[in-house]
């Protein structure tokens, strides 16, 4: 240790003597440490076991559950008290005889609790509708709770943000979301369920659910129990939060309450250990993908730090060459010299990591509102895990040391006389093994990734076939991927990145050979990069890796967009306008009239607003009992359906999702519903009494389709494989004519029947949607007018214009990220080049080079380094995007040309312009050190 002392002393003071370089390295280390610190604190704070308990109990000591039983046995009590176990209903409720049951509301809990204890009810009254007095719409579901914002035991349930607490029977507090969406103010009146004239006294929200639509009433308010609910209440027990006096013997109280049929659950019963399930059988694919992505980002991020900081260190050590020589003259061995440089890495790593932790913690507190908005919850208490934060700091320190390692080795190899003369051997190709090592690493990484790609490609081909087949049916598929394959690709990427680090200096030397054919400025720039590969190499590699990451992201975004397009099930034919008697998108429903009435009222005005429009009603058959009619052949498909099942001939498809059944009055209406002219055979078949079926999966025995009821008053819906006779009456086996279509529609029917079929079923129809085909001259203004008319009537319109295109700004953002990292890398290289090359520039000035020449040289250096890094990064990222293409979900490899183009062209140009603008053209003359 004593031999580290002088090294640390020199390092500490060198750091102070070169403040800008030190600041740069510290910043490179500090920023990621700050990010990790912040992420750790947020994740731990949100996942804190105490927080899970507080979510349920707030500050209460226990929860009392008054059951409908008169007594709970000890074994039943134990089930309630197990940590993490929250039975949904009393254990022996089912076994209890009805005669023994009681109404939990009749139990006087205060009389059962020890003296000094307090209990408040956890009263929820389910979902209610909310209607502003002056509005034509209403909110469908808002949770109604009884809670007092001034009650300490309710602190985890309600927090007042404006106004005063609700006290009277017709007073409520509303959550901010409701206030905004219904354009309400404090003091306004609303209708809650069927109760009119309820006054809003304030705005409050649930601290653990900012986005929840909630209505709070005072505990004991007459409103809550009487209001009509939009969903029925379930459960028979009554729950209360209990505050026990200090010194309470919990087991004794628990036993006393159990004897009275009340379960007292301690805080430990709500505990959640936050543990991770390590059983590989329980690890989901998404978890593996996320873990692999985090590992890749963290690993490459660390490499970025090491490369960028390493370049800065390399220059620092060169400028220290004479000091290092003096240490050697004083008897310092190569190991001592290494220590001197490594100690700088240690000092800067410690300072950077420390700053990072401070920055992370400070931004945590400063950005509290933002984090709460992001989490959608209040964060009352930050959880700092010192060891985890120390771990992040340690990684920062190790990154500092790693960045100093290569320069330290170089310094230790330096001849003492060269060091004393400030003469550091120029970078050269004297290490012929480096390109071979680098090339081998890249090939090995590529091979590993290729293995991963191979193992995924089989699943990918199946997926492509499935997508084609599923299009007709309108089902959703999950893209294939394998854990091992993902890990292989990520591992391969890491190995290739290591290869790039080794190979890049050689590549720079190789490319720089073109320098002799260039004019003066680019020649100087290229040769500077080549002769100073200690800095240009790491910086270029850092740029390449960062660009590769953003390129991969661009491919992923483009792939996801293509996947969305491929799996998109349109509502109707493109361009069709759908007029509906409701607007569920916004959670609102029209009042006072049925959907059919709204559609009927809005149809004419809307069509008038759309010149040249033609329309057809989507008449859906409904049985007198209220049940909808569905095809009963085929069955249910859902997102987790195995691909093998979907691709099989007997594939199972969700009939509702495929479009359902509609009634057409004649061929003309049939073709309007189909959105296309049908063949003569189909028209004849329909006129002859056959139903038209657009999905092969619904055809039974080649020329029949079976339809039957489904709905609240019908028999249970068929699920899973079905038999021809479901035993559901009435079912009807109709002659069917299959018409092939390439695309399924969510709204257009999969089966069209005639009015005679309807009569045979003794069914009626209702119309809640009209399909409008706009005229050719329809403008956006016409559509906007139609939308307003529909909204005024309580309905809505929707234009089917294909899957929502990704905002082009996303691609710009991705290119922007690449540009930012490139600029950082270029800035470091240029700054270091400027620091090292002052004497060269002084010589240039001495021989008559004009001041602007310096800018030109710097710009050319930036262009060279950025171009090389960007090209390498685009190649690297593209290759791995191809290997990982299956995970993007697109049916084919989608190339984000615009993003790649912007990255390849704009980023180097941006780097060049910024470098030129930020470089002063005049500089002081400098004495040349004799070499």
């Amino acid at each position: 240790m004593s031999r580290w002392r002088p090294a640390l002393r020199i390092a500490r003071r060198t750091v102070v003597r070169a403040p800008w370089r030190s600041l740069l390295i510290c910043a490179i280390v500090a920023v990621p440490v700050a990010g990790v610190t912040m992420a750790d604190i947020v994740a731990r704070s949100l996942d804190d076991p105490d927080r899970h308990v507080s979510r349920e109990l707030g500050s209460a000591d226990a929860m009392a559950i008054v059951t409908s039983e008169r007594r709970l046995e000890s074994n039943e009590l134990a089930a309630w008290s197990l940590p993490g176990v929250t039975p949904a209903a009393p254990v022996s409720a089912a076994a209890a005889a009805p005669d023994d049951e009681r109404d939990p509301r009749d139990v006087d809990i205060d009389a059962l609790l020890p003296s000094g204890a307090r209990a408040v009810g956890l009263d929820g009254f389910g979902a209610v509708t909310m209607t502003p007095v002056a509005a034509g719409t209403r909110l469908l579901h808002a949770e109604l709770d009884a809670a007092n914002p001034h009650e300490p035991l309710d602190r985890h349930r309600v927090r007042l943000r404006a106004g005063v607490a609700a006290e009277g029977d017709r007073e409520v507090l509303l959550s901010p979301g409701i206030m905004d969406r219904l354009a309400l103010d404090i003091g306004d009146s609303v209708r809650i369920g069927d109760v009119e004239g309820v006054r809003i006294t304030g705005v409050a929200r649930a601290p653990f659910c900012h986005g929840c639509d909630q209505v709070f009433v005072a505990r004991g308010s007459a409103l809550a129990p009487t209001v009509e609910r939009s969903t029925p209440l379930v459960g028979a027990e009554r729950r209360l939060l209990v505050d026990l006096p200090p010194g309470t013997d919990f087991p004794v109280v628990q036993a006393q309450l159990a004897a009275a049929g009340v379960a007292l659950m301690p805080r430990s019963a709500f505990g959640f250990d936050g543990g991770v399930d390590l059983d590989p059988r329980n690890v989901s694919l998404e978890a593996v993908q996320a873990a692999a992505a985090v590992a890749l980002i963290a690993g490459l991020g660390l490499l970025e730090i090491v490369l960028l900081a390493g370049a800065a260190f390399a220059v620092g050590v060169r400028r220290q060459a004479r000091d290092i020589g003096l240490v050697a003259v004083g008897g310092g061995s190569p190991r001592d010299v290494r220590r001197v440089v490594l100690a700088q890495g240690l000092v800067l790593g410690v300072v950077g990591a420390g700053l990072g932790v401070l920055l992370g913690v400070a931004s945590m507190y400063a950005g509290r509102a933002g984090w709460e908005r992001l989490a959608g919850e209040d964060i009352d208490r930050w959880v700092l895990r010192p060891w985890e934060i120390a771990g992040a700091a340690l990684i920062g320190i190790l990154a500092g040391l790693a960045a100093a390692l290569i320069p330290a080795i170089g310094a230790a190899r330096m001849q003492v006389v060269d060091a004393l003369a400030g003469r550091w051997g120029r970078s050269s190709n004297r290490r012929p093994r480096a390109p071979w090592i680098g090339g081998s690493l890249i090939l090995a990484g590529g091979a590993i990734a290729l293995l991963g790609e191979r193992s995924m490609s089989a699943g990918f081909r199946r997926y492509q076939r499935s997508l084609e087949m599923a299009a007709e049916m309108g089902t959703i598929l999950v893209q294939p991927a394998g854990t091992g394959a993902i890990l292989a690709i990520v591992g391969g990427a890491a190995v290739v990145a290591a290869g790039l680090v080794v190979l890049m200096p050689y590549v720079i030397g190789l490319v720089a050979r073109i320098g002799s054919r260039l004019s003066l400025v680019p020649r100087l720039a290229v040769r500077d990069a080549s002769r100073n590969r200690h800095r240009s190499g790491p910086a270029t590699t850092a740029i390449a890796i960062a660009v590769a990451g953003t390129v991969l992201l661009a491919f992923a975004v483009a792939g996801n967009e293509a996947a969305d397009e491929a799996t998109y099930v349109p509502e109707a034919r493109e361009g069709t306008i759908l007029l509906r008697g409701y607007d569920l998108d916004r959670g609102f429903e029209a009042l006072g009239s049925s959907r059919d009435e709204i559609v009927a009222a809005a149809r004419r005005p809307v069509e008038t607003a759309l010149p040249g429009a033609t329309s057809v009603e989507l008449r859906v058959p409904v049985l007198p009992c209220g049940a909808a009619l569905l095809t009963t052949q085929g069955c249910v498909a859902h997102e987790s359906l195995p691909l093998s099942t979907v691709t099989a001939e007997s594939c199972r498809i969700d009939c509702v999702y495929a479009g359902g059944i509609a009634v057409a009055n004649g061929v003309a209406e049939l073709e309007q519903l189909a959105g296309a002219r049908l063949g003569a055979e189909a028209r004849d078949a329909f006129e002859a009494g056959s139903a038209i079926v657009f999905s092969r999966a619904l055809v039974e025995d080649g020329d029949h389709v079976r339809i039957g009821p489904l709905g609240p008053n019908a028999a249970p819906a068929p699920r899973g494989p079905t038999s021809p006779d479901l035993g559901i009456e009435p079912t009807l086996l109709l002659d069917a004519f299959y018409v092939s279509r390439e695309q399924a529609y969510a709204t257009l029917p999969a089966v069209v029947i005639s009015p005679s079929h309807l009569a045979a079923l003794d069914a009626d129809t209702h119309v809640d949607t009209v399909l409008i085909t706009p005229g050719s001259g329809t403008t956006q203004g016409d559509i906007d007018s139609a939308a307003r008319i529909a909204a005024d009537a309580g309905g809505s319109i929707q234009v089917e214009d294909g899957p929502e295109a990704l905002d082009r700004r996303v691609y710009l953002l991705i290119s922007g990220i690449a540009g930012l990292v490139t600029l950082v890398g270029v800035a470091i290289t240029i700054a270091l080049s400027a620091a090292e090359g002052r004497a060269d520039l002084a010589t240039m000035a001495a021989v008559g080079a004009p001041p602007r020449r310096r800018r030109a040289i710097v710009a050319a250096q930036a262009l060279f380094v950025a171009s090389l890094g960007v090209v390498a990064g685009v190649l690297f990222g593209s290759c791995f995007a191809y290997a990982a293409r299956s995970t993007f979900g697109a049916p084919e490899f989608t190339i984000p040309w615009s993003s790649l183009g912007a990255t390849l062209v704009l980023v180097p140009l941006l780097a060049m312009v910024v470098a030129a603008l930020c470089t002063p053209s005049r500089f002081p003359l400098q004495r040349r050190i004799e070499e």
Binding site: S2, R3, R5, P6, R9, I10, R12, R13, T14, R17, R322, D323, L326, V327, A328, V329, G330, G331, G332, S333, P334, R335, D336, Q415, V416, V417, L420
Partner: protein, 229 residues
Amino acid sequence: MTDSILDLRAVTREHGTGDALVQALRGVDLQLAPGELVAVMGPSGSGKSTLLNIAGGLDAPTSGSVRLAGTEIVGMSATALAALRRTSVGYVFQDYNLVPTLSAVENVALPLELDGVGWRDARRQGLEALDRIGLLEVADRFPDEMSGGQRQRVAIARALVGPRQLVLADEPTGALDTTTGEFVLTQLRDACDAGAAALLVTHEARYAAWADRIVYLQDGLELATQGAV
């Protein structure tokens, strides 16, 4: 001469290859006995500094033998040479003598600390060395807070700290005024009188006059020797 502290035999040093070949030293023989101060003179490029570097193990000869206190140092590992420099050889250069990030006493104590001597002990010895040259008051100043003369005297103190047998001084008075230059020579002379040997490279005859012997170099060859051998 078996009791020589420094014994160079047929030492040559070549730089570069082909047309760019430079013969810095061409078969130089030189021996230094304990207590002897030898001055080396010659024009620029005559090989004076190269001779000094080879003598201290900072550079390796192309051919020939270099023995330090009886030990052949040609072919020694960098670590072994470093150990030798820590314990037996002290250097003084014309400029850039001190590590700028260490204070005066830390600079003086550096070889001791690198040799594993504890900080307190090394500092004590450093302070004693500074006291001997009358610079105790600048002990905690950094090089950029001292005058050129003070810096050079601190360098002398560093070269003499510990049990040094050989002091190598490369134009140590080049940037100093006469008074300070003579003070530096006095220190060297005193060290030699105390039993060490010193090799002094200088351009100035008045400083060479302090030496027991003067060796003249030109184009890497020893032209003449003045004084007792």
